[in-house]
């Protein structure tokens, strides 16, 4: 069994790290490590205790990068690796695996270890980058490998093990696949980040609700700081924090990792393996699709035609020669029918979704204006997430590219129609607010609303065309939506109708994203 797990993990690991996207990931990882270790006279920090930042020695550099990386990567990492089973679906090797004697647990654990290996490579690159950054910043050139590596070993490693297992769950449970799963994970991540601020201790071993393990270094750092600067107020801030003045430095030599602490962290790894194993109980060995498909067929009263009536031209009533001849039309083909078709395609198979959309649209008309701006409108523009995320990538996902790209006006017409359909959807679902702004004569506010309605689908189109999947848009848009419209961070809050500057900022972004979409499609066509 161990040999099979190893071979499955190895094959999956090699397949995924040899993809071009992995090089980009490595580049982004190094870039993040750079961002997470800002210069002393920089205007921002990523880990600050009151107004104090540790001297950039191995312990501080390792810990601060590991902490920042853990929180950030627990979001991005999930989306990055959540396609271990999908690889076999896409490569159509799933049926071969299904017919092999490999057990469900062996296969799923193989995928789990593959996920873990990929994330470990990224963690290792981050660790090396932290070492390089320590030397680049040059505040303390003594390299203490244990102090540098231990935060990655005991904080980040258990976390990525957990993410590896969670990603498997989100791939195996049908309801958690796709956009809904991505959104659910996003909410889960936010809740975990908040919960980890106040970890629940289960004895000395496990800091329950803190998979990041942040509490351990934070307590150690706070204690060291209090000793050197008794005036320290006990507060700390993690994440991008802008400073008005240069942060004061203090010396911290790292966590004195005790066995109970280490065991507490190792417990997360053990729990993640158990979690992955439990997931294997729900794995359908690639029969899952058939099952779902069969359910669909049942629901739609669809039966695959079998027997003589399905024969190619039994009861042939028409011959090719009796087809009505068509004459090719000169000039450009009309755009509206294509737009209608794109809209129809976007909404196909979304019966229940439409009811939700109608309810949100109506709530924008009926609720008090403040409630609309604060809740109904942001929700209305989150509801079509799955539809927007398919823009620009649907053709690749359903392998219709060759059919579409051999049609007249392949670049301009179809891409414009997809974009326009996405914008129409945003306009329709948020129309309640627009009507009320018009009624109140708030034209600037209306302009902010309108540019928002254009911005979201344009971002979706650019992300879809360039990434070939909906995931990139889902991550970016969910993050913007959470930080901006929901938490009101200026500039990112593109739904702040009181801020007229947004018209110019987001108009610029729309132009950039639209140009990017066209460029991406042109590149794809020339491949």
């Amino acid at each position: 069994m161990m040999a099979s797990i190893y071979q499955i993990a190895k094959a999956d690991f090699l397949e995924r790290i040899r993809r071009r996207g992995f090089l980009l990931t490595m580049f982004l990882t190094i870039l993040c490590s750079y961002i997470f270790s800002p210069p002393r006279d920089g205007k921002y920090v990523t880990l600050v205790f009151d107004r104090y930042v540790g001297l950039y020695n191995s312990a501080w550099m390792g810990t601060s990068v590991a902490v920042s990386f853990s929180v950030f990567f627990s979001l991005i990492g999930f989306y990055f690796i959540s396609k271990a089973v999908d690889v076999d679906l896409k490569a159509r090797t799933g049926q071969i695996i299904a017919a092999s004697p490999v057990s469900k647990s062996t296969y799923v654990l193989g995928k789990y270890f593959s996920n873990l290996s990929i994330l470990c490579v990224i963690v290792a690159i981050t660790m090396l980058s932290a070492l390089v950054m320590q030397l680049v910043r040059g505040e303390d050139l003594t390299v203490d490998l244990w102090a540098l590596a231990s935060p990655f070993l005991f904080m980040t490693l258990p976390l990525v093990a957990l993410i590896s297992a969670i990603a498997i769950w989100f791939e195996i449970i049908p309801k958690l696949q796709g956009t809904l799963g991505n959104a659910v994970y996003f909410v889960f991540w936010i809740l975990t980040v908040f919960a980890s601020m106040k970890p629940v201790h289960l004895g000395n071993f496990v800091t329950f609700t803190d998979p990041f393990g942040r509490a351990i270094p934070m307590a150690s750092i706070a204690a060291a700081l209090k000793e050197q600067f008794p005036g320290y107020n006990g507060e700390f801030s993690q994440g991008l924090t802008f400073l008005d003045e240069k942060a004061q430095s203090f010396i911290w030599q790292g966590v004195d990792w005790s066995w109970p602490m280490i065991m507490g962290r190792v417990a997360w790894i053990a729990a993640s393996i158990v979690l992955a194993w439990i997931a294997s109980l729900f794995f359908h060995r690639f029969r899952e699709k058939e099952t779902r498909h069969a359910a669909n067929l049942k629901n739609r009263k669809t039966v695959v035609m079998t027997g003589p009536q399905a024969a190619f031209d039994a009861d042939f009533t028409l011959t090719p020669s009796s087809l009505t001849p068509l004459k090719p039309k000169a000039g450009r083909a009309p755009f509206l029918p294509l737009l209608r078709s794109e809209l129809k395609l976007m909404l196909s198979g979304r019966g229940m979704w439409l009811w939700g959309a109608a309810a949100l649209m109506l709530s924008c008309y009926l609720l008090p204006l403040d409630a609309v701006k604060r809740f109904a409108w942001p929700l209305a523009w989150l509801w079509p997430l799955a539809i927007w995320s398919a823009m620009g990538s649907r053709e690749r996902l359903f392998r219709t590219e060759e059919l579409l790209f051999s049609s007249p006006g392949r670049l301009s017409r179809q891409l414009h129609a997809t974009w326009f359909a996405g914008v129409l959807l945003a306009v329709l679902i948020g129309s309640g607010l627009a009507v009320r702004l018009i009624a109140e004569g708030e034209l600037t506010m209306l302009a902010v609303w309108a540019i928002g309605a254009i911005f979201v689908p344009t971002l979706a189109l650019a992300c879809g065309v360039w990434s070939g999947s909906g995931k990139m848009f889902e991550i970016i848009y969910l993050s913007i939506w959470y930080i901006g419209p929901l938490n009101g961070l200026p500039v990112l809050n593109f739904m702040d109708v009181s801020d007229g500057r947004l018209i110019y900022i987001y108009s610029g972004l729309v132009l950039i994203f639209y140009a990017a979409a066209i460029l991406g499609r042109t590149k794809r066509l020339n491949e």
Partner: protein, 293 residues
């Protein structure tokens, strides 16, 4: 009058190796059967003809226009069925064809009438309102054929269309292509000789990116006259015979194996001349080209 002209068309993806090299041919109406083993460059050539990729060298001219410069001229009259294509599983056949019709610039009553006719032609009338996700492979292929015929194409390109079809469907598909030819150019790529035996008016054989021959089936068969033999071989000698002669068929008999040999002269004393088939001709070309390489 439609006319397709390929002049020294080559395609390289990395500037080191050539997927297609110096292909020249001229076509008017009829069915061109493009034969070749897997990896011969057929699909690359098809993709260039379908304007999906541009030739690295040479040019493809449709009715006097270089399609690399003015691809839309061809696309308006092009029907293309790729080897591997997908559908939107939540749409039914009619909705999918309506979508493809709008992409191809076909609208209104014309599109509706055309779709009705095509649905009947490919015999999907009963299933046409059911989601495509529930279709079998053969049914999806029929939807593919219907979409390729939507704009009544003057140039119809079908790339390995019989892959995945059962024998009955393959026969019917070949007949359909044959009927469709009429006043249009049909280019039909396959690695199965029997697919084009009865349909092609011209046959082109490709290997390793080059065009080995282009000819009509009768001439190909004529060239093979007197070069195909049948002889009985004891079971114990079959492996030895295979090493020395180009074998195009082996049938087990009670007294051993009846072997079909391609050779300029009689391979053995008891060998009888046999009527050549396109399979023999194809094998002979491929083998001869292999020997030369």
């Amino acid at each position: 009058m439609m006319e397709l002209y390929l002049e020294n068309v080559s395609k390289s993806y990395d500037r080191r190796s050539w997927a297609v090299q110096k292909i020249s041919l001229h076509m008017k109406s009829g069915v061109l059967g493009l034969l070749g083993p897997n990896g011969a460059g057929k699909s690359t050539l098809m993709r260039m003809l379908a304007t999906l990729t541009k030739p690295s060298e040479g040019k493809i001219v449709w009715n006097g226009e270089d399609i690399a410069r003015k691809p839309n001229r061809l696309r308006k009259v092009l029907g293309y069925l790729p080897q591997d294509f997908g559908i939107y599983p939540n749409l039914n056949a009619v909705e999918f064809l309506q979508y493809m019709a709008s992409v191809k610039g076909l609208t209104g009553k014309t599109a509706r009438l055309r779709i009705d006719e095509l649905i009947q032609l490919v015999n999907l009338t009963e299933a046409c309102r059911r989601p495509l996700g529930g279709y079998s492979g053969g049914m999806k292929q029929r939807v593919g054929i219907a979409q390729a015929l939507l704009n009544d194409p003057q140039l119809l390109i079908v790339d390995e269309p019989t892959v995945g079809l059962d024998p009955e469907e393959r026969v019917r598909f070949r007949n359909l292509l044959s009927d469709l030819a009429g006043e249009r150019i049909v280019i039909f790529s396959t690695h199965i000789v029997s697919d084009i035996e009865s349909t092609a008016t011209t046959i082109a054989v490709m290997q390793k990116g080059t065009l080995l021959t282009i000819s009509d089936p009768e001439s190909m068969l004529g060239n093979m006259r007197g070069k195909v033999w049948e002889t009985m071989v004891p079971s114990s000698q079959l492996e030895e015979v295979k090493k020395h002669w180009l074998i195009s068929g082996v049938v087990r008999r009670t007294e051993g194996f009846q072997v079909r040999v391609i050779a300029e002269a009689s391979p053995s004393i008891g060998a009888q001349p046999a009527a050549p088939t396109l399979e023999d001709a194809y094998l002979s070309f491929i083998s001869y080209a292999g020997d030369r390489a």
